[in-house]
């Protein structure tokens, strides 16, 4: 924007009061979002900070709020995160590579695939829970186990990962591919040695954001049975509870002490998720390349 243009645009508002009222409304719109976020953080921290202690991290839940902790829930959330990444990255990346590098976009089935993924990204999370309940827990007879929870969360965040990975792959300029082809590389060599390394920051950022979304999900895990009372540390094929589910369980109780405990759990959960988000943003800013 040139200096002249700038002066023209920022000259005195001739809209009289209507322009100012409108501007105030726009600022209010943003302020509502930030004020809520601020109030939420203050409320949670003020309520729960006293109970973020060794008991919370090292003790199992209990009917007595004073000695109740969230160790099994926190561990299960970490296990879920590891499994989630292990399942999501190969599947999401494979689909993204197929759609961007291999699929012929004029074929109806490839277009259908695209719309299907866009739609899956907007299917309510509770519906994934029903899918897990019907197929994994009861149909396959897997039972209410951590692995079933991880699989359902995988399906839930897969569309997000695919969409992010596709954008990262699309951002790699064609000249890179052409150069590799000119040197005699096969298609897979081009993808594996040129396109993927160049797209890695974008893919990593997208995957971490999806991980953070998956770890904050509660509803599908309720249906896969994470609400059972679990006083022992989780195993992949054992019953489990996850941190958001544990928080829900505490919020749902009428006693005030459990509300405090819930706030303490929320501090830990938000701590994990905000760290993941910050890491993702740092990755993007540090490694993102403009071609």
């Amino acid at each position: 924007m040139s200096a002249d243009e700038h002066r023209l645009r920022s000259g005195r508002p001739r809209g009289r009061w209507s322009g100012r009222v409108f501007y105030a409304f726009l600022l209010l719109s943003l302020a509502i979002g930030f004020a809520t976020l601020g109030a939420l953080l203050v409320q949670v921290v003020a309520e729960g900070y006293k109970w973020v202690d060794a008991v919370l991290f090292l003790e199992p839940p209990s009917a007595n709020p004073k000695i109740a902790g969230a160790e099994p829930a926190i561990l299960a959330t970490i296990y879920l995160g590891v499994l989630l990444l292990a399942f999501t990255i190969p599947l999401g990346l494979g689909t993204a590579i197929y759609l961007e590098e291999y699929a012929d976009r004029n074929r109806w089935y490839n277009r259908l695939l695209e719309v299907n993924i866009q739609n899956l990204a907007a299917v309510p999370s509770i519906v994934y829970g029903i899918l897990g309940l019907a197929f994994l827990v009861r149909g396959l007879g897997l039972g209410r186990v951590l692995l079933a929870g991880a699989m359902i969360l995988t399906l839930l965040v897969l569309p997000t990962v695919i969409i992010a990975a596709r954008e990262a792959i699309r951002g790699v300029p064609d000249s890179i591919r052409q150069g590799a082809y000119a040197l005699g590389a096969t298609k897979w060599q081009v993808v594996w040695r040129q396109v993927l390394p160049a797209a890695t920051p974008g893919i990593a950022t997208g995957s971490i954001l999806a991980l953070s979304r998956g770890l904050g999900e509660t509803a599908p895990l309720l249906l896969v049975g994470a609400l059972t009372y679990v006083a022992f540390n989780p195993t992949p094929l054992g019953e489990f509870t996850a941190l958001p589910v544990q928080i829900f369980q505490w919020v749902a109780r009428p006693q005030d002490e459990f509300r405090v405990l819930a706030a303490a759990g929320i501090i830990v959960l938000l701590g994990i998720l905000l760290t993941l988000n910050a890491f993702a943003i740092w990755l993007r800013n540090r490694y993102q390349r403009r071609w």
């Binding site: 109030a39 899956l120 999370s125 509803a219």
Partner: protein
């Protein structure tokens, strides 16, 4: 020399077939098939038990009955109270996310400089990254007492407090998609209007918003679809009793809250109570599917129009 090359067309195809390459392509296509299988799985998982359910309960009674009491004797399966509860919460959410989401989008697209936009937008998106169970806690322990303090007759649980918090959660969804579609409006249109002496208010509301309308409506539709499908906020803060009412001050049960509430218990597989989960789930899925497809189509329209 030149003529001979022209006579023999260049052979760009590989001399021999590379099986490894075909295997790779096959594996990648298999990955892509997982998404297709997910959709098929959802449809089968929902509709097979739902169809069985409708053998016992007439679909007309289900869709028009005003009494939802599947676990009582005598049981009654009118889904309208759940749908009404869902719509009531959604309407409260729209009160927040439609005007203020659009306002935030106009600010980011038309008023903020590039630097402000690049800091504010990710900050706003933090709101979308907060887990929904946390919003539920916030609605229950902060917003409900706040509403009581300003004199509204709300109880511990109400559609209003759940809906308002949900609206804030959806604000970045509306803002982000609307802002994208406004950014796709060519600046020629703005410059033309400024050249004719328009104010920024006039350019925003008479040029940019109409030009970006399909993306803006898509953002509304998507927000409504997400409000209808949202579970944890309503499960924590809206209440647990089906309630045939249009009063947002009252406690209501939504479709999602019913599914989560019933599905977490030990309902015996194959019982009629178990099948209600799927009947309500299928209703929810069809409602959100229609809205999602409309939104996807609208987004595609603005992309085509200006790119």
């Amino acid at each position: 020399m030149a003529t001979r090359e022209a006579a023999a067309p260049l052979r760009l195809r590989a001399e021999r077939r590379r099986w490894g390459e075909d295997v790779v392509k096959g594996v990648l296509a298999l990955c892509a098939l997982v998404s297709v299988a997910t959709t098929v799985g959802i449809v089968v998982a929902l509709f097979e038990p739902a169809i069985e359910f409708f053998r016992h309960v007439s679909i007309v009674d289900f869709l028009t009955g005003k009494n939802w009491a599947p676990l009582f004797e005598p049981s009654s399966f009118g889904v309208l109270p759940l749908i009404a509860g869902t719509l009531l919460v959604t309407a409260c959410a729209c009160l927040v996310c439609v005007p203020f989401g659009l306002g935030a989008a106009i600010y980011l697209s038309e008023y903020a400089g590039a630097k402000t936009r690049n800091t504010l937008k990710p900050m706003l998106e933090i709101l979308a990254g907060v887990p929904t169970v946390v919003y539920g806690y916030f609605a229950l322990t902060f917003v409900s007492p706040l509403l009581r303090d300003v004199g509204l007759p709300v109880g511990v649980f109400s559609a209003l407090s759940a809906g308002l918090v949900m609206g804030v959660m959806l604000l970045p969804t509306v803002a982000s998609i609307s802002e994208d579609s406004m950014a796709a409006v060519p600046s020629d249109l703005r410059d033309g209007a400024y050249a004719l002496g328009s104010t920024r208010l006039q350019v925003s509301t008479r040029i940019v918003v109409p030009a970006a309308i399909s993306g803006i409506i898509a953002s509304f539709v998507l927000a409504i679809s997400r409000a209808v499908g949202e579970t944890m906020i309503v499960l924590v803060a809206a209440g647990g009793q089906p309630n045939w009412t249009w009063n947002p001050m009252e406690a209501v049960q939504t479709m999602t809250a019913f599914i989560a509430g019933t599905g977490q218990g030990d309902v015996p597989t194959g019982s009629i109570e178990y099948k209600t989960i799927f009947a309500v789930g299928a209703t929810l899925f069809v409602m959100t599917l229609v809205m999602n497809l409309v939104a996807i189509r609208l987004v595609r329209r603005y992309r085509e129009a200006y790119e």
